[in-house]
Amino acid sequence: MHFISTFTRIAVAEVFDTMLSLKLEALETLEGADVPHGPLEGVVGSVGFAGKINGTLYMRYSDKLACSVTERLIGVTPVTAADSEVADVIGEIANMVSGTMKGQTSKQGYHGWLSTPMILRGSEIFLESKSAPISSMSRFRLPISNDRLEVWVFAKLED
């Protein structure tokens, strides 16, 4: 497994454990040509990396899972996944996961910067990169839902 995939799994588990007191179970990790690109539906939080590591992290939740995570974290029950609270929570979680990953990649010499989080929502979402040599997708099971959390990373490392 590429170390970017390993760092992704560690960062996602740490953020959910610390902020939501949830122990995630890491399921499969797919890399390279095995990474599915879509179509996806639901809510996607994304953060870009720039510097010695370039790329983007995407975290996809079903609408139901996004609402459950929001409720658990801030105690507010969203009416729908389009509520602003959901976007805020999903974006900030992506920000924390990216920040945790950045701390790990920095120790390997890959320093960089993070973008502010962005949110995608819809039913025909495709995630692709034409130039990233590293692509990875990891699935996680959360104890609060039967829906899976899926995390993509497309990245390029600069020497």
Binding site: M19, I74, E85, E92, N95, G99, H111, L114, T116
Partner: protein, 126 residues
Amino acid sequence: MAKRVLSIDDSKMVHMVVAKALKPAEITLLTAVNGEEGIQKAEAEKPDLILLDVTMPVLDGIETLTRLKGIPSVKDIPVIMLSADGGSENIQRATELGALKFITKPFTADALLAGIGEYIGLPRPS
């Protein structure tokens, strides 16, 4: 009089999590969603401590810190950075500008209280 902490962060989720963490210590939380609003509130409210995010729209945390330290009426208010982006370059820059500590997200309520407690006179956790 209750201590007052100003949280400057573009995420309302972070404000809510911080508020929950500070509640047991009976700390009043003031909030701002970007650096410009944060500077205005700092000048108007003179909080006991400022929690400052790094990556924000309008005015980022490093620039906000630079401006805060240039305003005589607020320059001595303790500032703690609270950010997901805890890269060494950010920590070094914030420290050079006068931030007292850098707490990285994710954080626990205990870690946050312990982190700010020494600067606003909270009793040490037993």
